[in-house]
């Protein structure tokens, strides 16, 4: 944790500096008779962030905040495994959306999570992986008129059939 604390503070400091630099694209000063320029608000707030990271670093040196006293690792073995399995699963889910459509990606993610992480029975897994995406499709596309990404063109014939049902 202790190491994580100072690294995170460093990352936040870099982020603040980047935000300050990016804000200077617009006027960050005070224009007489008009008030602050377009970049002033984010620039000075990012400046305060930078100052805050400084205080966090001081607290780290003085070991006065709980994370800076803790010698436990930020991520233990379980944490690492969990982050890879769950976080990686989510990453895969979102990456698949543009390829096999929101609904297809949803089904794959459910299959992965329920069967391989949750170790549920195949019957429960298959019921949920098919019924949920179809339910979402009808809720969003038919009822709410919100169109979700359909992925690459090869999914088109399949969705055309579904659209013929709902419209």
């Amino acid at each position: 944790m202790r190491l994580g604390e100072i690294i995170t503070a460093g990352v936040m400091a870099l982020l603040s500096i980047y935000l300050m630099w990016k804000s200077t694209e617009l006027n960050v000063g005070y224009i007489t008779g008009e008030g602050p320029g377009g970049g002033a608000w984010p620039f000075w707030l990012a400046g305060i962030m930078l100052v805050c990271t400084g205080f966090i670093a001081i607290n780290w040196v003085r070991r006065s905040s709980p994370p800076s006293q803790s010698e436990e690792p930020l991520l233990d073995g379980y944490g690492k495994k969990m982050l890879v399995l769950v976080g990686g699963g989510l990453l895969g889910f979102i990456a698949l959306v543009d390829i096999i459509s929101m609904y297809g990606a949803m089904a794959v993610f459910l299959l992965y999570y329920l069967r391989f992480l949750g170790r549920h029975s195949w019957s429960l897994t298959l019921i949920l992986t098919t019924s949920l995406p179809i339910g979402f499709f009808f809720f969003f596309e038919a009822l709410m008129r919100v169109t979700m990404p359909k992925g690459l063109p090869f999914t088109e014939p399949f969705f055309n059939i579904l659209y013929n049902i709902i419209y």
Binding site: E25, T32, G33, G35, P42, F136
Partner: protein, 507 residues
């Protein structure tokens, strides 16, 4: 007394069998739309507007009012059961609703939310009926300096919200405010902070993208890790008796919050530039401030659920006021309703009350009825939501992730925002582990887009003279109160330090 007659007519019209049916369908539909993160009353109203052309205008209005009310009640459901605020108005509901659910008291939270919503809605309806034309004048007095002063006050009520680590809390607030500035600078009319020239940043960072990232992904991963996946959210059983006792407990401990939310929410809600979100946030902050046990807020206090829920319901009704009386939409939902009224051939504006009294009072009449039905429908669905929570966590978790991704997309219909949400989620997970409070960032991204433009508009009005916030008759007192509230904790800290220097070294 003419008003009363028109109002009774409106209520009777709503009570016709066909209209009751429409109300039931509308409220139920609204409840689910509101409960779905990323969707809100704005979607419900927008999508169903075309359908309403198929029924007579009178029934159409009733149907829309029912959806509007249903969605307001529904917002609390995802905040409590999933821990994701479904709409910006329900952010504050997560602060205490989620802890209650994790303690196995989800039913208490849901019932309290429903009852508080009902009271908030009822108070607002009565205020609306009596004071509408007068309040419209108040709304006009609030120019940019007044709205900014109000935002300052909203921040002030939240001073105590952060964690114990002061630098991290301030960092979190500033991060939220900077994110709120991404996209476009309204005053200079120039693109701003468009990171790496990615066009998705042009529309700014939507509040929901950050909120779902923090709560739906970051908090979820953290929960899975810290409980080693062995989490059970609730063991509570539901029964009619249970609902009654929950309602009693909720009101016993949350009546103050409900009262504050009902009135404060309404008054903030009628201001077109402010609206329901600051109203519900301020009500939460004020309830915490005046509570005898402010430490219990955030740990699962029914008052912390009642205040924002009463407020957002009351404020959403209040938001109708500027739309009807001035033709100014206070929220995207009312903006779309405004469009609907134009399509029906009505001109919203100061003359609507005199030219079209049947429409106005019919609408308000259907608010009264929809509010009652929304309460009944909501209460009868609570067992279903509790049942959902009792699913094994390995089923519930993927469901929450899917709702997060779908909700993140539905809000702006842009995959860019889904990726951004994932990044925020991972970031929030690490920050959460290191005791960074993230609620202030979420609040800041909600209030920032109101605070910054009004600040700069005010300074333009005064030619750069900052005393405009103190010299205007309404802005002045609000600013002074806000400043006192902000400085109060600092004084207290100083006093504590003088008294007992050996008490814990402040961070």
């Amino acid at each position: 007394m003419e008003i009363l007659g028109l109002l009774t007519d409106g209520i009777f019209v709503s009570l016709q069998p066909i209209n009751i049916m429409l109300i039931l369908v509308g409220v139920t539909l609204g409840l689910f739309i509101g409960a779905m993160p990323g969707l809100g009353s704005v979607n419900g109203v927008a999508i169903l507007l075309p359908i309403t052309f198929l029924v007579p205008p009178g029934s159409a209005i009733i149907f829309l009012a029912a959806i509007y009310y249903g969605a307001m009640y529904g917002g609390a459901i995802s905040s409590i059961t999933l821990g994701i605020p479904g709409a910006s108005t329900a952010v504050a509901t997560t602060f205490d609703g989620r802890p209650l659910a994790l303690k196995g008291r989800a039913s208490l939270a849901l019932v309290t939310a429903a009852v508080a919503s009902f009271i908030g809605g009822s108070v607002a309806n009565v205020l609306f009926t009596i004071f509408a034309p007068l309040l419209a004048k108040v709304a006009l007095i609030f120019g940019p300096p007044e709205i900014f002063a109000l935002m300052l006050l909203a921040f002030a009520t939240f001073v105590g919200l952060g964690g114990d680590d002061l630098p991290k809390t301030i960092l979190s607030i500033c991060l939220g405010l900077v994110f709120a500035a991404v996209g476009f600078d309204e005053i200079s009319g120039a693109p701003r902070l468009v990171f790496f020239d990615i066009s998705g940043f042009l529309h700014g960072i939507n509040f929901l993208v950050l909120a779902i990232g923090v709560y739906g992904i970051g908090e979820m991963i953290w929960t899975i890790e810290s409980t080693r996946g062995e989490i059970t959210t609730t063991e509570a059983k539901m029964s009619v008796k249970g609902i009654v006792s929950d309602a009693k407990e909720g009101m016993r401990r949350g009546w103050k919050g409900t009262a504050i939310g009902s009135f404060l929410g309404f008054f903030v809600g009628i201001l077109p530039a402010a609206g329901a979100t600051p109203g519900s946030l301020m009500s939460y902050g004020v309830s915490k401030m005046i509570s005898k046990n402010p430490k219990e807020f955030g740990q699962g206090h029914p008052g912390g659920v009642a205040a924002p829920e009463a407020a957002n319901n009351s404020a959403s009704t209040g938001a109708m006021l500027p739309m009807l009386t001035l033709g100014i939409p206070g929220s995207p939902t009312t903006a779309i309703l405004l469009g609907g009224m134009v399509i029906w051939g009505l001109t919203p504006g100061p003359r609507l009350f005199t030219d079209q009294p049947e429409f106005v009072w019919g609408l308000i009449g259907s608010f009264y009825i929809s509010n009652v039905f929304a309460l009944i429908v909501n209460l009868s669905f609570i067992p279903l939501f509790i049942w959902m929570l009792r699913m094994p966590f390995t089923v519930l978790a993927p469901l929450i992730f899917i709702l997060s991704v779908v909700g993140g997309y539905a809000a702006t219909q842009d995959m860019h925002d889904v990726w951004l949400m994932l990044i925020f989620g991972f970031g929030a997970y690490f920050l959460r582990k290191l005791d960074y409070p993230l609620a202030p960032a979420v609040l800041a991204i909600v209030l920032g887009p109101i605070a910054e433009p009004t600040l700069r508009q005010s300074l333009l009005l005064s030619s750069g003279d900052a005393t405009i916030f103190l010299t205007r008759p309404i802005a002045g007192p609000i600013t002074v109160i806000a400043i006192i509230l902000i400085l109060l904790p600092a004084f207290k800290m100083l006093k504590d330090r003088m008294k007992g220097p050996k008490s814990n070294p402040a961070g």
